[in-house]
Amino acid sequence: MFLQTLITGLSIGGIYALMAVGYSLVFSVLNFSNFAHGAVIMLGAYVGLALATKLNFGFGLVLAGSVAGAGIIAVLNEKLAYSSLRRRKAPSLYLMISAMGCAVFLENLVYATIGSRFYAFPEFFGRQVVTIFGSSVSLLDVGAFIFALIAILGLHLFINRTRTGTAIRAGVCDMTMCSLMGVDLNRLIAIVFLLAGAFAGVAGVFLGIKYLVYPTMGWVTNKAYIAAVIGGLGSLPGALAGGLILGVVETFVSTYISSVLRDVFSFTLLIAFLVWRPNGLMGIDSEEKV
């Protein structure tokens, strides 16, 4: 029971981490909370659902299609809703308000065109289980956890080992100076949104398979914000750690205390971190020598 709960928690935590990574990446570069990230996750899930149900694609192609679709949607979202504000050097509050507007617009667009019905993905994994230390756990849970780890490790390597990744980290420090190094900021920001969208696509598919696909499913990104704060805004390893901690805590609370109290614990954790450790577990150390 304990191990099953732990694996389920890690699986949910892995999905939270995938969402938190995208959210955290955009926050660290543009310094605003992209509340439209949840809507991109939701649209990514719908793209995956369409590929799975209309075109009968297998899991791999559904995932790839959702990654591409959500990535493109995220880039379009930036170009249409944020780039003109950026060019005019608008305060981040304006970007945040624009993001909220986008979230509401995209949700209602889905309501108006696809409807409010709940849809289920085909059962890619059936009810397959794997046995770990004598406990039976769902293949989907193990797969989601491992995939999240690999994806975030890949992103971590990209950010730390490539020229574009170095430019993203430089942009986090000082966007203006980054442009004075010869970096095309519009292109760099498009790459950041593409990456965030790609992760949103993966999260959308796993969320859709684990639960259902519906227009307000993106609101689960509230948990990604909590995970990002726990881990430290702007830190990718932090987003992973925050997501996993939150997923495990929630699952244990649901299993051993009460599922009604699950969100109470999550938001209490958020408040506790904001009060006692606002930089999170691995927040970016911006300390400089005077």
Binding site: C173, S179, G182, V183, S286
Partner: protein, 235 residues
């Protein structure tokens, strides 16, 4: 030939007319200094030339061609800025800062050669390669800021207050390095608030007051001019 030609440059911040129709030129291989008190508009000119602050009027030519509007396009045309207070990427290491300086360059070998050139100018940077730049001393940070700009292989180097807050010995080292960079073929435009040493090493100087040039001439002559010394150079 003019490496840089600025004609009737105007810059506004809202209703504030920060730069009021200044015109100047920098010839290839020259060091030119713009000197003036705090708030005279010196840094605004530099940020405008780098493409960060848009001009409200006037014309800027780099080697006879109009200045592009975006900073990354300006860097591609061979202009690099070392800003006031360095503005290094503090969370990145010294090596990563240097690599960012060479962002537009694709040839790994020439980037390595350029890094060696920086180590010739500032040997201490080789020892600090893996250190986070935010933890360097002020002098080392300035050395890194200049090196980062050099990594782009600029034809024109803009230096905004390169000696601000540095100890006298470091100031002298920075000034000697600027001469060396010029001798290697890079045109230098520098703005300085405390300007005696800047004018002494400059081929020409311009005195800026409230957004307007009030005097120009050979750098060493301006440095010795009693009126200018009294007004701008602290006696």
């Amino acid at each position: 030939m003019n490496a840089l030609l600025v004609e009737d440059l105007n810059v506004h911040y809202g209703t504030i007319h920060a730069v009021q129709g200044v015109s100047f030129s920098v010839n290839e291989g020259e060091i030119v200094s713009i000197v003036g008190s705090n708030g005279a508009g010196k840094s605004t000119i530099m940020w405008t030339l780098a493409g960060v602050v848009p001009p409200s009027g006037g014309r800027v030519l780099i080697k006879g061609n109009p200045l592009p509007s975006k900073p990354h396009e300006i860097v591609a045309r061979g202009l690099a800025l070392v800003p006031e207070r360095r503005r290094l990427f503090s969370a990145l290491t010294v090596r990563e800062n240097l690599i960012m300086g060479a962002y537009r360059r694709r040839d790994e070998e020439s980037v390595k050669a350029e890094m060696e050139r920086c180590f010739q100018l500032f040997p201490i940077l080789r020892e600090r390669l893996g250190q986070r730049s935010g933890t360097l001393s002020g002098g080392e940070q300035q050395m890194l800021a200049i090196s980062r700009a050099i990594m782009s292989d600029p034809k024109i180097l803009l230096l905004d207050e390169p000696t601000l807050g540095l100890a006298p010995l470091i100031v002298e080292a920075v000034m000697n390095t600027i001469i060396r960079i010029r001798d290697e073929g890079v045109t230098v435009l520098m703005v300085e608030q405390n300007a005696t040493q800047a004018l002494e090493i400059s081929d020409r100087g311009y005195i800026l007051e409230a957004g307007l040039f009030v005097k120009t001439g050979p750098g060493p002559e301006l440095a010795m001019d009693p009126e200018i010394r009294r007004a701008y150079l602290g006696g």
